[in-house]
């Protein structure tokens, strides 16, 4: 008989990370390394070379994106086995999922450069936190165990509090930061309590680690779930829906999006929403797959209400950032609809794509549309970042045709005007809903699209059809080279990506 110490030693050796574990998360390690590098540069670089910090971050992100997209060439082979002793596992289409987060971080960095410099805020700290959050999100969507799930979710959340309250001299930014802090803390507490209940109710002496997703799935499939397990599962789904911004947990979204610095708003709208959607997809189809009969109606109801609530609230808003925030809620409804199909009818496909792939494509299209819209919007000057009434866009077409074009392409893609990529991804979700026979959700989605046309085109009407009155509003606007480059590239992407998906 071996001593307890020797047994523990053996167990540790069995779980010790292999080289293939490390290479599988090379992109995440790269992003984390870049974030530390940004901080290091801030210490040693003289004032006039400060531009190097965002430049290296962007170049690094591009490099990591190439590495993530070509797993055959780089060492990051797609692995279909548990990593790090079952802590991580690539359950989602990783190259595309990574691209969602890497492109959001890259575009946020491009947006932040001019924006923060103009407001006298430092770029090094912003990039450091932005990259930490990105790496955490990328680890979150590979979690196969509740410990990495919780830790990466919270790392990202704490970083996002910093990014929202980044403009310390702006009352709006601080207020948004505190509101986000309380809302986020509340959802984290529920999420943790849910995990604890699931862990405790499914655990038994010798039954294995009931925080691991496969163990939970097996125990639930064997019918070991109790009332406590169900309560825990409901709290976890509620917590994830909170991060996603689904009805009725969306009350924080308009305030936080409006008050946050515009680059952070863009990052929240894309990367944070993507993380919420993918985390929900991961837990609903992974550990809780056996609860599908109970989970599917609940998710369908959430999706239906989110689609209606987001669009109707956006209709009654006259501030552009608030309207975009609430339209983001309706996009969360579309994502929830695709997740519902993944739970209710996993074998359903739209034009040959599974519901998981459709979720990821929808997110990519949403990243392109959101950044195009917000990049164009950030080019329009406003005395305060959080006050952007619709009327501030008047006469934009004469002041800056390029910003107006960016706004038209971005909003067109968000609204789903053919042939934009937003149209194609919306079509994929609708096709999934037809396959799964979720007619009520389909109805709500169609009503949502019809309503959204009204407020999306309200924004465009101000920019295109209403001329400015006084002299100040007709002065031409100067746009930076970076801004013009982003607007051109993303405008082309809205047109090309839709065709690429269908071909």
């Amino acid at each position: 008989m071996t001593s307890p110490i020797a047994e523990i030693d053996l167990a540790f050796k069995a779980l010790a990370p292999r080289t293939s574990d490390w290479t599988a998360i090379l992109p995440e390690l790269g992003v984390a390394g870049l974030s530390l590098f940004a901080l290091l540069q801030a210490l040693v670089i003289p004032e006039r070379l400060r531009w190097l910090i965002p430049a290296t971050a962007r170049a690094g992100l591009l490099l990591v994106a190439v590495m993530a997209l070509t797993p055959e060439v780089a060492w990051t082979q797609a692995v279909d086995e548990p990593l790090f002793g079952g802590l991580l596992r690539h359950n989602l289409p990783m190259p595309w999922v990574r691209l969602v987060f890497l492109s959001s971080a890259f575009l946020t960095s491009l947006l932040a450069g001019r924006f923060l410099t103009a407001r006298g805020a430092g770029l090094a700290d912003y990039h450091h936190v932005l990259l930490v959050v990105t790496a955490a999100f990328m680890l979150l969507v590979q979690s196969d165990h509740f410990v990495p799930f919780f830790v990466s979710l919270e790392t990202a959340a704490v970083g996002l509090y910093v990014l929202v309250g980044y403009l310390r001299r702006s009352e709006a930014s601080l207020e948004a930061g505190v509101k986000f802090l309380v809302a986020g803390g509340l959802s984290s507490a529920f999420l943790l309590m849910g995990m604890v209940l699931v862990y405790g109710s499914l655990g038994a002496p010798g039954a294995g680690d009931s925080l691991a997703f496969p163990v939970i799935a097996k125990a639930l499939a064997a019918g070991k779930g109790t009332v406590l397990t169900l309560a825990g599962a409901a709290m976890i789904v509620g917590g994830a829906a909170f991060k996603l911004g689904a009805f009725p947990f969306h009350s924080w979204i308009p305030d936080v999006y409006q008050g946050a610095p515009t680059p952070t708003t863009a990052y929240l709208a894309t990367a944070s929403k993507a993380a919420g959607a993918l985390a929900l997809l991961l837990i609903a189809t992974g550990p809780f797959a056996s609860l599908a009969a109970k989970l599917a109606p609940a998710l369908a109801g959430l999706s239906l209400l989110t689609l209606l609530a987001g669009n109707l609230a956006a209709l009654a808003t006259s501030d552009i950032k608030r309207a975009l925030a609430l339209s983001g809620v309706s996009h969360a409804g579309f994502l929830l609809a695709a997740i519902t199909v993944a739970v209710a009818k996993p074998e359903a496909t739209a034009f040959g794509f599974t519901s998981e792939t459709v979720v990821v494509y929808y997110l990519l299209a949403y990243v392109v549309g959101s950044f195009l819209t917000l990049q164009s919007l950030a080019g329009v000057p406003s005395a305060e970042d959080h006050v952007r009434p619709l009327t501030s866009l008047r006469g934009l077409i004469r002041r800056s045709p390029s910003l107006t074009a960016g706004l038209c392409f971005g909003i067109g893609s968000l609204a789903g005007v053919p042939p934009s990529v937003g149209f194609v991804t919306k079509l994929l979700v609708l096709a999934l809903l037809v396959q799964a026979g979720l007619w009520w959700v389909l109805g709500a989605a169609l009503i949502g699209v019809a309503v959204s046309i009204h407020y999306y085109f309200g924004i465009l009407r101000e920019a295109v059809a209403r001329p400015g009155d006084d002299r100040e509003e007709t002065a031409p606007l100067e746009t930076g080279a970076v801004s013009r480059f982003v607007i051109t590239t993303l405008s082309l992407a809205t047109l090309a990506a839709g065709a690429l998906i269908l071909l």
Binding site: E171, M195, V196
Partner: protein, 102 residues
Amino acid sequence: MENTALAPHLILAGLLFALGLAGVLVRRNLLVVYMCLELMLAAATLALVAFSRFNRTMDGAVLVFFVITVAAAEVAVGLALIVALYRRRGTVSSERLDVLRP
């Protein structure tokens, strides 16, 4: 310690969680709201330790360390935000947070 009763621990954890939730929803002072949030995390930690002991699986006890670390990081950032807001506005009452509205 063989027959540690699980129920009393869970009831206490549930009460603490409910108390924290009530505080977050009812109180107006942001610092108190923040303390109540931490109370909710502490309640989850208590339940975690109780379950870990009762089920004889160490994994829950390990998660506790991560929860404490995360809570510490959250407090560091949260208090910094609240202090910055206080310097700017001279109040920590959530009723006076009215810059952002429709």
